[in-house]
């Protein structure tokens, strides 16, 4: 059974159809990329999967259960966690605090227990602190964990966004343009990072512009154009697909990373 199934999902804003009857599925342990020119509806698709916006029609099935219509925090609780396109963090906390707070779903203490610092709550916090430190070390942020998030350089911010998402122990991680604005070396590091995350047992769906990175990393690629799915397949197939080349017309070579 696939971990995620998108079934004929459509989103209209007024007269504009941002996502039009898109279906695909993701197997457990895969890295799936959603690509497409600007305005193809990639970001909207992401918000639909993570339940941040409700679809006009169609549904999202996760582990055999329909998650469409659930509030987004509930979807996160079930293990579908998104990152953000912008460098979204809790700006006025330190890097470490960001990741500690993000362990929210892993709390075993009750609300009152937390308030009165019950032994369980204290134990939780100690665990979270250790795990946050581990996640940060893993993502190469160990050296800056005491910095305020708003003072972090751009590349670190994106890693912090991923660290926050990892802290929730997701089953399915939705990465929104994880390589945007990175140079070649940074991208190489990030690509390895995403592979590492997958190797820890997390299924990854990502939206991305950087074609060469996508081609290297993905098991499967979904191509959107004007809200429609125009192609789906392994990277090699996508590179040869006429519809895809046409959608990227004008800059087929550098965009597709030949």
């Amino acid at each position: 059974m696939p971990i995620l199934e998108i079934q004929g999902i459509t989103k209209r804003y007024g007269g504009l159809t941002a996502v039009n009857n898109v279906s695909f599925s993701v197997e457990k342990g895969e890295i799936v990329a959603v690509i497409g020119p600007n305005g193809a509806g990639k970001s909207t698709l992401f918000k639909l999967i993570s339940s941040f916006v409700p679809p006009t029609s169609g549904k999202v099935v996760y582990n055999g259960q329909t998650i469409t219509g659930l509030p987004p925090h509930e979807v996160a609780r079930r293990g579908v966690v998104r990152t953000f396109q912008e460098t979204t963090t809790f700006r006025e906390m330190t890097v470490l605090q960001n990741v500690i707070v993000a362990h929210h779903l892993r709390c075993s203490a009750s609300g009152l227990g937390i308030y009165f610092a019950s032994p369980k709550a204290r134990a939780d916090e100690v665990t979270f602190r250790d795990r946050a430190a581990k996640i940060l070390d893993y993502l190469g942020l160990g050296g800056v964990k005491r910095l305020q998030a708003r003072n972090l350089p751009h590349g670190h911010l994106r890693a912090l966004g991923i660290a926050i998402a990892l802290a929730t122990e997701p089953k399915l991680l939705l990465l929104d343009e994880p390589f945007a604005g990175m140079n070649i070396e940074e991208t190489d590091v990030a690509v390895e990072m995403v592979r590492g995350i997958r190797d820890r047992g997390v299924t990854v769906v990502l939206v991305e512009h950087d074609m060469s990175a996508v081609m290297r990393i993905s098991d499967k690629i979904i191509v959107l154009n004007f809200g429609l799915k125009i192609a789906e397949g392994a990277p090699a197939e996508i590179q040869r697909n006429d519809a895809v080349i046409e959608a990227y017309l004008g800059r087929p070579d550098d965009e597709l990373g030949h």
């Binding site: 993570s50 990152t83 953000f84 006025e92 906390m93 500690i100 707070v101 610092a117 204290r122 802290a167």
Partner: protein
Amino acid sequence: MDQVTDGGGQSTAGEAGGAVTRWQIISFAGLVLLLFVGVPVIFGKLPYFITVLTNAAVLSFISLGVWITFSIGRMNLAQGAFALVGGYVTAVLATRYGISFWVCLPLSGLVSAGLGALIGWPMLRLKGVYFAMTTLSLTEAIRLLALNGGDITKGATGIVSVPPPGAIRILGLTVVPPFSSANPMPYYFLASAILALGLIAVWRLSTSRLGWVFRSLRQNEDLATSIGINVARYRVTAFSLCCFMAGIGGAFFVAFQQNIYPSTYTIADSVNFLLYCFLGGLDYLFGPVVGAFLLVISFELLHAVQDYQALIYGVLMIFCMLCLPNGILSLRLRRLGERQHSKT
């Protein structure tokens, strides 16, 4: 450098949920000593000052509620409304049904909190100026409701001669003697106790994980949602806590002044609660307390200049805002920062 936040103020409090800075313990112990020992010894014979300080203590308690809503990133201008609700609950229950003040007090808080949850649930979806404007309207709406409340609120005449709090007896033992309007001292002690308890409660809150969750809401609600935080529930929790404190404060003032009118809390009061927080410093737990005491006391001191009291007060306040836009307590942080800097 200010990039590293260790070793100064709120920002380090309780990374592991529960740790408390030395500064907070010292200032809290100092405040309690001052409230319960210092003030009675120094001003015990001056009922006027005791009254002023009683006012300041409960006003800072109410502002502490507003501070909680600031911590979730909402500018709450409805605090006067919920103080009015709390006040009327106590006034009506005490005068009509003869219910003891000691029952009315928590009940007022609960009614306000309940109403706050009910109204807050949809209203907290609004952000920024929209939330501020709506809560401002709410203050005015509740006042008008009290004005048109017919027999229950007695309209513009208000509810007068509310009996002062009675004695508390446990097993025939008088634990708290009956209050009388002639002696402000018992009220003062009650006010100080309310403030101290409120501070401890909010302090626990802000250093626990709940405090961090609240702060995360202020900084980015979408991100908070994405990590599985039920944003709507936590905002309502924060807002009802705030309303609870308003209700308690409102009930106290009814007992203290023995009356309540629709105009007891107006928009000006809602605005003042906000400004106490601001002047003290939004980033500091003690902000509302410092702000409220300073403003209430300085307003009273300006009595000496009669005609220009309001004017000088207003000018002083703006001056204060412009010189210390991050609150009076930011002074302390800056000084600490310098000291650390010179050490390294």
